[in-house]
Structure formats: structure tokens, C-alpha cells
Symmetry: C2
Subunit: 790 residues, 2 copies
């Protein structure tokens, strides 16, 4: 499979190899040196960093690929984004971006000369310097590559709707063992060569991960070839360790691959071929730590896992290691690569593309630069008619779906909006989207298929990881998106959320040249309270808890209680930038509370008294009944009605929370209420009965500094559940109307005389409930048919 | 590839098909009926459940496979565990387990007759009944299958060290799209046919998931075959929709597969062949909702995604649907399958294995039955010699590694202990394990390889999902295990943790016949404070927050501050049952505080005053300095030293917390301190400065009900980080000794007069620190060389 014919001239080859040597030199320098970058003096203690931090093993391979991609860009005038799956190879990307001149443009202090080279070396993994990974700080990066697994889904996400872009996606053979990566290969069934760009996966088979060989390096050539073919690719193998041979083979192979990509795109775009093509990919088998020391302390280093991190440390105090380092550095013959002033020789500079074609400067990798506003209709036009609170029943996501559908339509030309989900779009009541678009599908179809097409803009694959990775890649390259998911299973991407939140935190607060991108919007539905078909395994509202641990600057959590608030919140989220927005709302038919005007007011404040449900106007209440989430809101209102009947004199204030972050102190979150505002809403001394959608402790964590916190009593999901009726779910978690009534009776001093009666009433109703559902299998009529009546 | 020769006799075929019809009948009955199970009366409203909940689509396929596996068990006297990846097909497993008689033995109320059948139907997805999935309630289940993706890793985990077991693992073609499943195929590179059992993966290619076709059903036969071959399997295709043909093909194929499995095992066990074999697997392509209604309301149902859940509802009020249901049920001709008393005909009963061979009654699936105590040396023998606090520096995991090594040795014969990790065992300082065992490895090897062998008992693959899935399968079948992982990346399995915690909660509290299994033990290291090589993406201590949302009965969290406490905690965790234990401790050289005796005392209480670090003996302190976690403990002690110097009269109490759950109220967690004990430790009115390993809010969430909570001030990780020095990491999160000193100065009233001086001292040190590290790249000598001196 290796190509033997050559396309590289001798001089080209020599230059490319020199370029590679320079990148390798600069990489080793970053890991080891803090001074004397050109080795003008003999290497000595003061030149060596006291702490040697970084990863060498993957770096020469990444460098090797960079210069070959540069050649492709120059020869073909292409736009390429480089994704380094092994993001721990930070030195490689930084070196190359510096060599092409980009780095000094973004960071003028790190100039393109000896002084700059000193800084370049010193800053790497150094306090006050730059991280060891291909972090947001690295120009050209959209992929930090710290947590392994997402390189390929990011790569695909980046090229959807970017027909002129190719991502070259380097995948570590270790990373290839992760689940998210193993399924991301199937993304080719969702890539339309007519409308989308292309991904060139390069499996970096350097044989090892941290301390183990990799699985894919230790199966037969045949098996690996079949695996890649089975995934739908045409694999090309570039294998060896002799630089010259490898340069020739890689140049030849890249030419073939890019020829094939061009041909696939031509067939689709010019000839109108619509079948899924077989895309090329490269298996790049080369030694880990290539060109590094062959042996360290008597053990193999090059071509071994031992070169994964820093191949040898204790350089300062170990003369042998000092010599080893010097020999290693000198093996690159820097004097043939740089002027005495530390400038890369002009003939080498010529190997890098210019301007925006440089992979370090490509605008796609700073997506905010390309971001176009999403065209959006007025969400008020999709309002559900709610003549009065509790008069209409509806499935909240449906109006939102129509809103999304029309956003889809309005941005059809710009092609910068997609909806993602793990096979739940229809089930989550977003089916109206299919009036405007289809599901993306490039695999085989049959006539009975439902809304599948290569042009679809709804992306469904049963992999939350892939959905998340695609969406991140899509957003990071300057587009907009929306992710709907079962609430419980969004935990599958907890760690991916972490990484994206960290990326946003850094870009938002520390990297001015990174322009804001569209927010990542989650719509979590099929939530804990309505898992009628499923049960305990599908009941988990904890994603919110996970989210609020991240920087308050980048996270937002909304619990709209009905359709119009959901619409308003959705509109807000889609307009926002650099956030992660979490929206939680049910999909089942439910009572509607607010007309659009009230909904907008309520969502704009994020929290507020529902006057129509309260009877304490003009004075202080006896109790505050707070609620956040659709089901808790229903139960609270039903409890209020019962209390009105049982204790008509009781003054109740109903407070509904849409924006959970309002509960936090202002100093903790930009949406936080001031203490004064909080105290005015919740009083400073009255009992608060708080019905919350999720784990109750979260409310305490958000409010423990508030004046009235000692009187706050929260009900929520306490990890009880099974397949049962909707009302029984709230009952077994003590969140139902009856428990709430009892909570009030237990805490309001003025009810003391009646408390026993009230609690007996509650007990009786709960017994009735259990008996009824066990007999009839559905909720009691008084619950099923409950209605808010003025 | 389909077999045309037949091995089934006509009568066998007829009986098997009848058995299948019976299972299908009982499945439909469970979904739809609450009475009239044998249709002795014409179907009418009262017989139909008011809420129709469940999943039909996958069910006939699961039933089909069950009867074929029964045949294999009978013919070959095998032990087979059935794993239903599409666990939503609960009715199938329940039906079959009932038909083989197991169900009535476990649940005598659901007897093996008409009354039992009525209950069987009624209870399914019914309040007070059973869940819709293959839940812990289902005899024979070790896999609930609610959250898709883990079937195959569970299947492999179950057969490691169980040479006589085969798991038949049904994988939905939808589930096959998930990341965890896509990589779990590679588990065959870790399965040793000599010592382990076998897995027969059956890819259930019914073409659809919820509302979409599946990727694997819509690639060519060739691609699918190559994919499976590439994964290292020999795929057999059984494809079609004619029951007779399919029965013949399946019987033939299963015979082949089990022949091959037997032959592989024979070669390995008798002939000593050590190469990785190519294991068989089955691609079972059959219609979704097979034998269900072909058309519902004018739309295709059988063979379409529309039959995924309940193919049609509103039966009670829709005469057409009522008729459809009756026709459907009658198509199975129950009268030919059951006696008028609802007993399965004896000739059909004969098709099920007997006793413990029944898949519903197989002891492997109730692992606690088989659980053998882990033989363990006295952990005290591994104690680190700590002559006095702070006199010795050590890497805490190392003594633990030696302890684990010897546990490995002592249980070598019983072969019921393994250690799991994503390629980090050595890096996490557990390398001493390799003195006793190797890494499991069945793929190719080369001479330079390090401790790889088919007999290794350390399982490393770069997939946290696979490690977790293997371990769960291993534990659920009655063995012991230990999982070490980078702290940040354990979030990758957040959702898997959820599912296992839910499983344990249900088995522990609700299912007496499920015997306790060994706890799932996490050792989280390379933690947030010491990501020297990596940086921000590797910094996340939030797994603890995630864990504490689950039922307190099943979760435990430990933060041992040094080596001896880590040993003691590890011993405790390995002896425990039905828990998930989370242990967090660093791997870097660090000061040691407690000798073994003190460590045991401290760990047994879980929390305590460190007298040697306190100077308030005999009275009340001015301030309580609490700490949990190794790095916070170090900073607290260093702060105490500074305070002793700056304010010698200040009375400081140092409280260290190993067992985080002691902080919670007793009512919330079995380890929680009583309020009295808590108040005695933390006082009721003195400032508490709490230095915590993770996100500080968690401490508030655990303690908000405690008397002295208003005076509690917590420092922890506030999501600031990068690649920097160890001390700078605590500084940028305000957790360092200097900030702690300032916190004390800010809060202790008696220090008021000196506060300005103290705070200026702190400021100056912090400025010095920043200047020093930016210049020298490592921490100031006073920090690096800090030592606790009496
Ligand atoms: C999800 C995840 N688990 C574990 C790690 C720890 N880790 C860092 S690098 C590495 C090995 C990577 O091997 P490979 O992908 O082959 O990269 P390369 O050989 O090019 O360095 C591991 C396991 C990680 N970064 N991410
Ligand atoms: C991780 C995860 N994501 C989403 C779901 C929701 N869900 C339930 S069943 C299903 C389709 C399953 O399809 P398949 O595996 O083919 O099973 P079958 O066709 O046999 O029902 C989906 C997406 C889930 N259960 N788990
Ligand atoms: Mg590698
Ligand atoms: Mg399917």
C-alpha cells in the first residue's frame, strides 16, 4: 500500500526535512531550556528549566505532519485546520505556529528572533507562561486535546457547512481506544461532500500510550485495514522510521488523499453524485519520540513508551543527562536552520503558507471571527395563547420546535444552524423541525424512510459523545447549534461539558484575540419526573449540579415552567455568546401558566412573585412557596389551592424561579439577586417551602449565605424512583402537593392549632393515592383532572 | 455466509417456534393487559391497562435468542448469562424467566398458572409492580440496559476468570453507535481463552432505534463484515424474517459458534495455544417488532422504527386498536401453548434448562452468591515508618501498591481480584503490582514489552468506559476489583457510576434475594492540585460532588491525607460490600503525618482533632482550622506554623477529615456525626477555616444544618488553573497557607489589633511568590523546603 514513486524533488525533500528538524529542535527547546536557545554557549545548569514538564513522544510526529500539510496548502491553496488529538504535544503546534510567523503576530513579545525564541522556550509549561497542551492560547487551535477522545468528532463538527475547509485530524493510537473516538469514525455517514468540507483522519500509530503499547498497533496490518475499511474509509499506510523514505511516502500519500478528496467533492458538486463516498485516511506508523535519544539510562527511549513525556529529567544535576540533551539538541543542527539571530532561514520560511492560509492563523480556528448573527423571527409570534393561568394544556417544546423550525428556514442560505440529538428529536416533541428540514443521512436509505436526507440539518446519532463533539466543533468554527437530550443521559457528556466550559472560561477571560462564539445550548427534557416508559435508570437531574461547579461567567441554568417561558428562554440562549446554557423542561402535556407578555417579564427577571397565585399582596406573607421547574410548579400551585381551602386565612406568596442563578449571591454569579432583592422576595424570617426540580441540596448550596436560609426547606428529587405514575413519582420523593401542604403546616406557627387536622388530611390523601394507583394503574381523577381555578 | 444445512428436526423447530410464540404472547400481554390473560373472554376495556408503557420493538428478537440459547444450554450443558443490551426489552426477559419457572420461585405470588400470569401481566410497568427494563428485579440480570452502551464491557467483565461461563451479549444496533460500545469490541484483546470464559456478541440488527434507522443496518454487508473482522471477530450472519428459516439458520449458527468457542478453549487449555483467537459473533438481522402488527393507522409497524415502543395506544377507547390487539394476541394461538389453567405445556417446558442452568437462575447473575472473601494481609504490615509528624516524605500510593500486590498474590489461586485503569497504573505509582502480576494482553507482543501477558491481572485500556464496564461486570458476578484513574477524567464515567449506584440502591434496599457484592473502589489520583505536566483541562475535583447526589446508603468518600491513612482506608474499602467507595489522594512525594496506629484511629473515626498540631487542649480554641485532602492538610499545617509565629497566643484547633460523609447530619448519611459530636469538634461559635480538596460549596452543602455553619469559611478549588507550580496552584485558588492565615486574621476577633500586620505579611509573601516563580520557574525555597518542626 506504501507508495514507491516519488513526487518530492531532492531539494524539496531536504528543505522539508530541515523544516521538520527546526520544529523538533524548537520542541525540545521548549521542554528543556530556559535560556541559551541557540546553544551559543555550552549547555549548563542555568539554561535548564528546574521543572521539566511536557510530552515529547507525540511531538515529532505532529511536527512531521505539519510540514506536510503546509506543503499541501501551498500547492493546492487549501484551508486546513490542524487538530492534534494528542494535544499533549503542545510544543509541536507552538513551534510550528511560531515558525510560520503567526505566533509573534498574536504574541509580539515572543518575537521572531533569538529573544523571541528565548521567550518561546522559557514560557512553555512555566509559571506565567503557557500551558503544556494545544490550549486556547495556541493560535490555530480548536481542540485542546487534554482529555482524549474528541478529536474526530470535533474535526467533523468543524467542516459541516464549511465546504471549503479540510480538517487534518491527528488521532493518537491511544486516543483511538476511547469510546468517543471509536464511534466518531462513523461520522462519515453524516458528511455530505456537496455541502460540507472534508476530514482527513490521520491515525498516529506511534505504537504506545503512557506505559503500554496500543491495541491498534498490535493487531495485524490486515485487521487494521479491515477495521478502517469497515468504518467506511480507504486507509493509506505510511510506515517506517527513515526520515527520507517517510517524507517521500507521506508527500505521495497526502497528494493522493487530497486528490481523492478533491475528486469526491467534484463528483458531488459538479456531477451531482449523492452516494456516500469512501473517504481516504492515513495510518501513520512512526516511532514514538522519533529522532529523540535512542537509549536513556540503558533503556530504550526512541520508539518506546518511555519517550511519552520527558524522556529524561534531572538534567541540571546529572552530567550524563546534560550531555545527552546537548547531543540531542545538536543533532538537529540548528545552525543550518536559523540565522545567528534566531530567525528561521528564508528558504525554510518559504515552506509555510502566508497570511490567513497559515494553520495558526486560519480564521476557522477563531470561529468568533466568522460568526454571523443567527437570523431569528420574533419568538413572540410563536406564543401559545394562554387566556389565563392554568386554562390551557400543552406540550411545552412544541411552540419552541416551530420557532426552531423557522430559524432553520431563515438561516438556510447562510447554513449556520443545526440541531443535534441522540435519536430523540421527534420523541422530544421537536418533530415540527421536519417540516423545514430532514435528518442528515448519507448512509443507505429505503423508500419507507422518514425525513432522512444528505441535506438534513438535524443530526441524530445514538451517541451523546458524538453529538456533543460535533456541536462543539460546529460552534468553535463560528456557527450556532442546539442540543436536545434526555435529562438523565446528558451525564454521558459531563466530562466533555467540563472541557468546553474550561475552554470558554480561558478564551473569555484571558485571550482577547479569541472572538466570542455562540453559546452551547442544551435542552434537557424527558426529565426525571416523567420517565413513564422507563424508570429509575432514566431519572437523574444532577447535570445542573455538575454545571454549577464551573465558572459562573460561562454557565447559565434555566427551568422554564411552561411553553411561553420556554420560548423566551430559548430566544435568549440562542442570542447569547460564550456561555453554556442549560434549559430543563418537560415534554408532556401540562398546564400553561403565563401568556407571552407575562412570560417575557418573568424570564427577563429570572425570578418573580406570581401575583395571581399569591394572596399576600400589600403585606408580608405567612409562608413563601417557591418553585423551580415545571413539575414542582404544578405541585406548588396545587398545594396552594389545598391550603386556600384548608386554611383560607393563610397568606401565601408564590415565587417562581426560571433562572436558577438568581438565587446565588450577586458576587458569585452575574445573575445573582442582591441581598436586598432576595430578602424582599423571600422575606427575612418567614418559612420558605421550596419545590425544586432536582436534587434539593443544590438550592442550599446556592442560598446558604442568604439571610433567610435557616427557614428554607427544600423538596426535590431524593433518588427514589421506578416505573410508576407521574404523580407517584413526586409522592415517593415527598415533592407532591400533599407533602408540600404538610411542610407548610409543620412550619407556619400560626397554623399550629390546625396542623394536626391538615396533616391528617394529607396522610389520608396519600393513602388513597397509593391504593388507587395500585388498583387502577393510573393517577386518581382528582390529580389527573386537577385544574387551577380562580 | 448463511447456513443452509439444517440441524433442527421438524418437531424441534415446531416446538422452538411455539416456545417463541409463547414468549411473544407473554410479552405483548405484559405491555397491554391487566386481566383476561388467556383471552378467555372477548377483549374489553377493563382488560387493558390505562397507561401502555414499554418497548415492543426489540422484544421478539430477544425472545427468539432466548429459546435458541436454551437449546444450546440443554445440548451442551453450558452456563450462560444472557445480557440484553436493549434492556428496554424487559418483557422478553421477564416472560422467559417466568416460562422456565424461575420467576415464580423468586416471586411466588407470580405463580406458574393463570393467576400468576394475570399478575405477571399486571405488574409490568405498573405502580407497585416492576420496572419496564431488565432491572435488578429481574432474575438472571446483571445488566439493566437502560442507559445504552455498556452491554459488551459488562459481558467481558463477567467472564474474566470465569472459564466455564459464556455470556451471550445482545447488542442493539442503536446501542452499537454509542462510544462505549464501539470500543468495547476490542475487549477481545484482553480475554484469555485459557483462564477466562467466552463472550458471544450478537449484534441485533433490527434496523432501527427510536425514530431512525441505525448506521450499521445501513452500510453494506461487506462494510459490516469488514468492521467486525477488523474488530477481531468472525461474523456469522443470520438474516431474514421467515420464522422457520430463521430458526434453522440460528440453530445452525449457534451450533457453529459454540463449536468454535469450545474449540478455541480446547486449543488454549489442552494444546496450550497462546495466540489471540478470532472469536465468533453473530449478526442477527430481523425485523423490529417482528410478528407484531404490520400496519397501524395506515403506517408500517413491523420492520419499522414505529414499533420501537408501544406500537399503538389508546386501545381502551379505540375499537379498531382493540381489535388489532386482539388479532395480534390471537395470532400466537395461546391455546396451543398453555393449558386452560395458564400453565406452559410440558413439551414446551422441556425446552428450558433446569435448576441453576436456567438463565434466570444462574448464580453468576447473583454474584453475591459466589462471592469469596478476599484474602488480605494485615495492611499494618505495609505501614510507612513515620517516627513523628512531618518527618518523612513519601509517595502515598506506594505502600498501598505493595498491599495490593500481596492481595493479588494471596488470591492468585481463587483468581478473583483485578486492578483496572486507563493506562495509568505505573504513572499512578502502583507499579509494584508488576512484581506480582502483569498487564493483561492478548494482542501481539515484542521483546521490549514491559509486563504484558495473557495472565496479567492488571487491566489497562485507554478507555475509562471499558475499565468501568469490565469492573462492573466483574463485581456483579461475585469478584473484587480496584480502579485507579486520574481524578479529572473519572467524570468520563459519571453516568456509568450513576447506573451502578442505582443498581446497588435497588438491590441493597429492595431485593432481598440479591446477595451483597464487593464494593466498587475508585482510587482517584493525579489530582487537581498536582497536574504539573498538564494543566487546566486535567483539573477537576467534581466527581465527589457527583457521587454525593446518590443514595447515602451506597456511597462513601475518603480523603486520606497521607500514606498510612490511605492504607487503612484501602483495607476498609476492599472489605466493604454493596458500596461505591471513592478514595482521593495524591501520588507526588509529600510529607507524612500519622504513624500506623494513629492512622487507624483517625480513619476509624473518619474525622478528628490532630492534637500535635493544635494548641487549644483543655479549652476552647479561638479558631478551628479544618482540612480534608492531602494538599489542603499541608497548607493548613503550614498556616498553623505561620500563625504560631505571628500570633503565638492564638489557640488553634486542627481538625482533619478523612471520611467526608462524617460532615453530614446523621440522618442524611450513616457515617454522619451527631450534632453534639459535630458541635464539640467544630464549636458552636468559633470561626472555622476549612481547607478542602474540591469545590468549596460541597462542604456547605454537607454542613448547612450544623449549628456553627454561619461561621464556616471554606477554601477549595474555584476553577482556576493552568500549567504552573504546585504551590501556585493553591495560591490562585486562595487555598494556600498565606490566604488561610489571612482568613484567620479576618475572622478571629481577638486578632483585630494585629490583623493589618498579619495581612500585610501575607500580601508580601504572595508577591514574593509570584515574582520568584515567574523568574525561576519553581516554588520559593521556603515553600519547597518547608517542614513541620515541633
Ligand atoms: C480520557 C483520557 N484518559 C487518560 C488520559 C491520560 N493520558 C494522557 S496522554 C495518554 C496516552 C495517549 O496516547 P496516544 O493517544 O497514543 O498519544 P501519543 O502516543 O501520540 O502521545 C494518556 C492515557 C487522558 N489524557 N485522557
Ligand atoms: C445512552 C442512551 N441514549 C439514549 C437512550 C434513549 N433510547 C432508548 S432506546 C433507544 C434506541 C435503541 O435502539 P437499539 O439499540 O437498536 O435497540 P432496539 O432497536 O433493539 O430497541 C434510545 C435512543 C438511551 N436509552 N441510552
Ligand atoms: Mg501513541
Ligand atoms: Mg435496533
Amino acid at each position: 500500500m506504501n507508495q514507491t514513486t516519488t513526487t518530492l524533488s531532492e531539494s524539496e525533500l531536504e528543505l522539508m526535512n530541515a523544516y521538520w528538524r527546526a520544529a523538533n529542535y524548537l520542541s525540545v527547546g521548549q521542554i528543556y531550556l530556559m535560556d541559551n536557545p541557540l546553544l551559543k554557549e555550552p549547555l549548563s545548569k542555568e539554561h535548564i528549566k528546574p521543572r521539566l514538564l511536557g510530552h515529547w513522544g507525540t511531538t515529532p510526529g505532529l511536527n512531521f505532519l505539519y510540514v506536510h500539510l503546509n506543503r499541501i496548502i501551498l500547492n493546492r491553496d487549501l484551508d486546513i485546520v490542524y487538530i492534534a488529538g494528542p494535544g499533549h504535544g503542545g510544543p509541536a503546534l507552538v513551534a510550528n505556529v511560531w515558525m510560520e510567523g503567526t505566533y509573534s503576530e498574536y504574541y509580539p513579545d515572543v518575537s521572531f528572533d533569538e529573544a523571541g525564541m528565548t521567550r518561546l522556550f522559557r514560557q512553555f509549561s512555566f509559571p506565567g507562561g503557557i500551558p503544556s497542551h494545544v490550549a486556547p492560547e495556541t493560535p490555530g487551535s480548536i481542540h485542546e486535546g487534554g482529555e482524549l477522545g474528541y478529536a474526530l468528532s470535533h474535526a467533523y463538527g468543524a467542516v459541516f457547512d464549511n465546504p471549503d475547509l479540510v480538517t487534518a485530524c491527528v488521532i493518537g493510537d491511544g486516543e483511538a481506544e476511547t469510546g468517543p473516538l471509536a464511534t466518531a469514525w462513523h461520522s462519515n455517514k453524516f458528511l455530505n461532500p456537496e455541502r460540507d468540507g472534508a476530514v482527513l483522519p490521520i491515525l498516529h500509530l506511534n505504537g504506545y500510550k503512557i506505559a503500554n503499547p496500543t491495541v491498534l498497533a498490535r493487531i495485524s496490518h490486515d485487521e487494521l485495514e479491515q477495521l478502517m475499511t469497515g468504518y467506511g474509509y480507504k486507509p493509506y499506510f505510511v510506515e517506517g522510521d527513515d526520515p527520507e523514505t517517510m517524507h517521500r511516502a507521506m508527500a505521495e500519500t497526502m497528494d493522493r488523499c487530497f486528490d481523492e478528496i478533491a475528486e469526491i467533492q467534484r463528483r458531488a458538486r459538479v456531477e451531482g453524485v449523492t452516494e456516500r463516498p469512501v473517504w481516504p485516511m492515513i495510518v501513520f506508523r512512526s516511532p514514538k519520540g522519533w529522532t529523540g535519544p535512542k537509549v536513556v539510562d540503558g533503556k530504550p527511549a526512541e520508539g518506546n513508551w518511555r519517550s511519552h513525556q520527558v524522556p529524561f529529567s534531572t538534567v541540571r544535576d546529572n552530567p550524563e543527562h546534560m550531555e545527552l540533551l546537548e547531543t540531542w539538541l545538536k543533532s538537529y543542527r540548528a545552525e543550518e536552520l536559523f540565522t545567528p539571530d534566531g530567525v528561521l532561514l528564508p528558504e525554510l520560511q518559504a515552506l509555510a503558507p502566508k497570511g490567513k492560509k497559515r494553520m495558526g492563523d486560519i480564521p476557522y480556528a477563531n470561529g468568533g471571527l466568522l460568526l454571523k448573527e443567527l437570523r431569528m423571527p420574533d419568538f413572540r409570534d410563536y406564543a401559545l395563547d394562554v387566556p389565563k393561568p392554568g386554562a390551557v394544556e400543552a406540550e411545552a417544546p412544541k411552540p419552541m420546535a416551530r420557532f426552531l423550525r423557522d430559524i432553520m428556514k431563515m438561516n438556510d442560505k447562510t447554513a449556520n444552524f443545526r440541531v443535534f440529538g441522540p435519536d430523540e428529536t421527534a420523541s422530544n416533541r421537536l418533530g415540527d423541525l421536519f417540516e423545514e428540514t430532514d435528518r442528515t443521512w448519507m448512509a443507505n436509505t429505503i423508500p419507507a424512510d422518514d425525513h432522512l436526507s444528505p441535506d438534513g440539518r438535524v443530526m441524530e446519532i445514538l451517541s451523546e459523545h458524538t453529538c456533543q463533539g460535533w456541536l462543539e466543533g460546529y460552534l468553535l468554527t463560528g456557527r450556532h447549534g442546539f442540543f436536545s437530550c434526555y435529562e438523565a443521559f446528558i451525564h454521558i457528556i459531563d466530562s466533555m461539558f467540563n472541557q468546553h466550559a474550561k475552554w470558554l472560561k480561558v478564551t473569555d477571560s484571558e485571550i482577547p484575540w479569541r472572538r466570542p462564539i455562540a453559546s452551547l445550548n442544551y435542552f434537557l427534557t424527558s426529565h426525571v419526573w416523567r420517565q413513564d416508559h422507563n424508570g429509575f435508570s432514566h431519572q437523574d437531574p444532577g447535570f445542573i449540579d455538575h454545571v454549577v461547579n464551573k465558572k459562573s461567567e460561562v454557565i447559565r441554568v434555566y427551568l422554564p415552567p411552561d411553553a411561553n417561558t420556554l420560548l423566551s428562554v430559548t430566544d435568549h440562549c440562542l442570542r447569547s455568546r460564550n456561555y453554556i446554557n442549560v434549559i430543563v423542561a418537560g415534554k408532556q402535556p401540562a398546564w400553561q401558566w403565563l401568556d407571552m407578555e407575562a412570560a417575557v417579564r418573568h424570564c427577563t427577571s429570572g425570578i418573580g412573585i406570581w401575583e395571581w397565585a399569591s394572596n399576600d399582596a400589600g403585606g408580608e406573607p405567612d409562608v413563601v412557596m417557591a418553585c423551580a421547574g415545571d413539575v414542582p410548579t404544578l405541585e406548588t400551585l396545587a398545594a396552594v389551592k389545598i391550603l386556600h381551602k384548608l386554611a383560607p386565612e393563610l397568606k401565601i406568596r408564590v415565587v417562581n424561579i426560571v433562572d436558577l442563578m438568581t438565587l446565588q449571591p450577586k458576587e458569585e454569579h452575574p445573575h445573582g439577586l442582591s441581598d436586598r432583592d432576595f430578602d424582599d422576595l423571600f422575606t427575612t424570617d418567614k418559612p420558605i417551602i421550596f419545590a425544586y426540580h432536582g436534587y434539593p441540596w443544590l438550592i442550599h448550596r446556592l442560598t446558604y449565605r442568604r439571610t433567610n436560609h435557616p427557614n428554607l426547606h427544600v423538596r426535590g428529587y431524593k433518588e427514589e424512583g421506578t416505573t410508576t405514575t407521574p404523580f407517584d413519582m413526586v409522592v415517593i420523593n415527598d415533592l407532591d402537593r400533599f407533602h408540600l401542604v404538610a411542610d407548610v403546616a409543620n412550619r407556619v406557627e400560626s397554623l399550629r392549632p390546625q396542623a394536626a387536622y391538615i396533616k391528617q388530611y394529607v396522610r389520608d390523601r396519600l393513602i388513597e393515592h397509593k391504593e388507587y394507583i395500585t388498583k387502577y394503574g393510573e393517577d386518581m381523577p382528582e390529580v389527573r383532572d386537577w385544574k387551577w381555578e380562580e
